[in-house]
């Protein structure tokens, strides 16, 4: 693709650039601090590439450089201007190949690009020409999952890129309404939950709503969580209350058994080297007792007590 011969070097008034235009965006989700330091020190080394569309310039290459310049109060920079128009696909492809090697490999960027490539190209073209560079398999359900995540608003993609939420949480977000995902993300961010706990509460919210047929915000879970959030407790305690409340709604029988089990254990004054656990999801009625010993001698004595006597034949 010969695009250099169609460009000319101009002095670009940055105020004429529409940095919100996303046609050729290859998102990064990383802060501009280092780029700003670099530009402050040595200026913009490689001129960005822009194109005039509807009387404003839209960025094709160097969007972050232009944004950093704006942040630094720079009003004009040298830039290349694309003179004759290429189609959207070709321009996006220039942006893709220029950026793909220096973008951090985060799931938000990948998802955004999968969605954008599928919007612009035939699935086969996207899968064969571009997906390998993104580390995405050309086949399988993962593509659809990424496409849906890639359609999320920036705030959610940013949360994904920063590791506040996991891909599976973002996928659930893509299946619920904007208001619902804003609500759930706010709970996660306000409480400073780690991404595992965030995934857990999101899937509880989603399953409860999907099973009852109610919207998340109309469900009992949301009401309970709003009440918990309004308390003055420390975030860590609120987090545990939120988790327990949603778990109890989603698995009432297991939650009931957990309380019963805890009450049983409470009766014993166990030393800290003894732990009593229930079987996974109370699938079996028994318990697992774990005893840690400081010496083999103690272990030996305990095992003597617990073992069945050996028969004469065995001994």
């Amino acid at each position: 693709m010969d695009w250099r011969s169609r460009t000319q070097l101009i002095t670009l008034d940055i105020s004429q650039v529409d940095l919100s235009d996303k046609d050729y965006l290859i998102p990064s989700y990383s802060p501009l601090t280092r780029l700003e330091s670099s530009i402050s020190a040595v200026g913009i080394l490689n001129p960005p590439l822009v194109m005039m569309q509807d009387r404003v310039y839209v960025p094709i290459l160097g969007r972050r450089r232009l944004q950093a310049a704006v942040n630094l109060g720079i009003s004009s920079v040298s830039a290349g201007e694309m003179m004759s128009s290429l189609d959207d696909r070709s321009l996006f492809e220039i942006a893709f190949w220029d950026n793909i090697d220096n973008r951090p490999a985060n799931p938000a960027t990948t998802a955004y690009l999968v969605k954008r490539l599928l919007d612009l190209f035939e699935k086969r073209t996207a899968a064969e020409r571009f997906f390998p560079s993104l580390g995405v398999s050309a086949f399988g359900p993962k593509i659809e999952r990424l496409r849906m995540i890639g359609g999320l608003e920036n705030v959610f993609l940013n949360a994904l890129a920063q590791g506040h939420i996991q891909e599976k949480t973002a996928f659930i977000f893509s299946k619920i309404s904007y208001e619902e995902r804003v609500f759930v993300l706010n709970v996660i961010l306000e409480l400073g939950m780690n991404s595992n706990k965030a995934a857990e509460i999101t899937s509880h919210f989603f399953d409860l709503a999907a099973f009852s047929g109610e919207a998340i915000l109309d469900g009992h879970g949301a009401k309970l969580i709003i009440d918990i959030m309004a308390t003055a407790e420390p975030n860590q305690e609120k987090t545990e209350r939120v988790r327990s409340a949603l778990f109890a709604l989603r698995f009432p029988e297991i939650a009931g058994k957990q309380i019963e089990f805890s009450n049983k254990i409470c009766k014993y004054r166990l030393t800290k080297n003894v732990q009593v656990k229930a079987h996974q999801a109370f699938e079996s009625p028994g318990a697992i007792i774990e005893v840690r010993t400081d010496s083999w001698h103690t272990a030996d004595s305990l095992l003597e007590i617990l073992s069945e006597p050996k028969s004469n034949k065995e001994s």
Partner: protein, 363 residues
């Protein structure tokens, strides 16, 4: 019932097989794809919007290179019945929304193994001089009879089995394709197993399958012809007024067939891998019951809470026993605790369960 096959993909090692010729002859409107064209077609299929749906209309003919006889993929954490699978092919032209095969295979086409001579030979060898009773089934990775009008495999298997002692063969199906079986006078070791469910579940979740009424009509016909019958309530999906719904199905079984012809009745409440929930939702949109209180069980699959499962099994078993006190009811992949609570039966080991089921052929 008939399943539409648009394309037949013939692998190079299957080109000369007599069964290949027979299948192509029976599908005159299907496009035959051979050689390197299969690779192109495969890429097209995998890139399509719903490869699983499209794959159900593509029949691949190939030689099976691995073992034909396999242990049913049970897990150590629950009591397994020790069934063995005769691997005749994989994939199913019917489309149950809950079907585990959607997540189990990474190849979406239907596959039919054309090296049936090898299949029969290898399995005759495996079954010679055996000491213990073995139960074999063909309907685990595919429906036993869905492609039988094309392959004629049931007749071949019935011929083979008539001479083998100490073994039973079960055809498990959701179809009504039993006619070829009626050309045989079965020995007592052949079971025709029908998958059963609540009427509403069959209607909305078991797409392209025979209706319950048809299945039961065929079950009756088969039992009158001398076949033993199996009924499989699996997966049980407790939606809405599930008690009335499952009672209705149980009642209709016993209205339709003589209880003495029933070898066994199995039950298994829906359980699934997390993948299945995602794949099925992608294909069919939201499926309400996948969002019920399924928690991770001992085998990593999502299962309903154990007491809920027990009450479901107990209820359905009571309905069955109200018609047939001595029904040989068994649970698929449940713990001894569930067996005891649901069926008042101590079932501690896989061997014990295998013996319990094999006894169906000794009485």
């Amino acid at each position: 019932m008939n399943f539409k096959i648009d394309e037949i993909w013939v692998e190079s090692d299957a080109l000369e097989a007599p069964l290949t010729e027979k299948v192509i002859g029976r599908l005159p409107h299907a496009k035959v794809v051979v050689g390197s064209d299969i690779i192109k077609k495969k890429a097209e299929l995998l890139l399509s919007k719903d490869p699983i749906s499209r794959g159900k209309r593509i029949l691949k003919l190939l030689q099976h290179k691995g073992a034909f006889l396999k242990k049913c993929p049970g897990t150590n954490e629950y009591v397994c019945c020790g069934l063995e699978i005769l691997h005749t092919g994989q994939g199913c032209p019917m489309d149950c929304r809950y079907c585990a095969l959607q997540a189990y295979f990474n190849r979406p086409t239907l596959e039919m193994f054309i090296n049936t001579d090898e299949m029969i030979e290898s399995f005759k060898t495996a079954l010679t001089d055996q000491q213990r009773f073995r139960r074999i089934c063909t309907g685990e990775f595919t429906d036993s009879l869905a492609l039988d009008p094309l392959s004629g495999l049931s007749a071949l298997l019935l011929d083979t089995f008539s001479g083998i002692q100490n073994v039973s063969l079960e055809f498990k199906t959701k179809t009504d394709f039993i006619e070829p079986l009626l050309n045989f006078r079965p020995m007592g070791n052949i079971v025709l197993g029908f998958s059963m469910n609540a009427p509403q579940i069959t209607l909305t979740e078991e797409l392209k399958t025979a209706s319950l009424k048809r299945r039961l009509e065929k079950a009756k016909l088969a039992s009158e012809h001398g076949y033993k019958l199996g009924f499989h309530f699996d997966p049980i999906i407790p939606l809405g007024d599930w008690r009335t719904a499952y009672k209705q199905t149980v009642d209709s079984i016993f209205r339709s067939v003589d209880s003495e012809s029933i070898a066994w009745i199995s039950m298994g409440v829906l359980r699934f891998t997390p993948d299945l929930k995602e794949i099925a939702t992608q294909r069919f949109g939201a499926i309400n019951y996948f969002h019920d209180g399924f928690a991770r069980g001992l085998d990593g699959k999502s299962r309903l809470e154990v007491d809920r499962r027990i009450s479901i099994y107990r209820y359905i078993a009571t309905q069955i026993r109200s018609h047939f006190k001595d029904a040989r009811i068994y649970l698929c992949m449940e713990s001894p605790h569930v067996w005891e609570e649901a069926l008042d039966t101590r079932m501690e080991t896989d061997e014990q369960l295998a013996d319990y089921l094999s006894a169906a052929f000794r009485s």
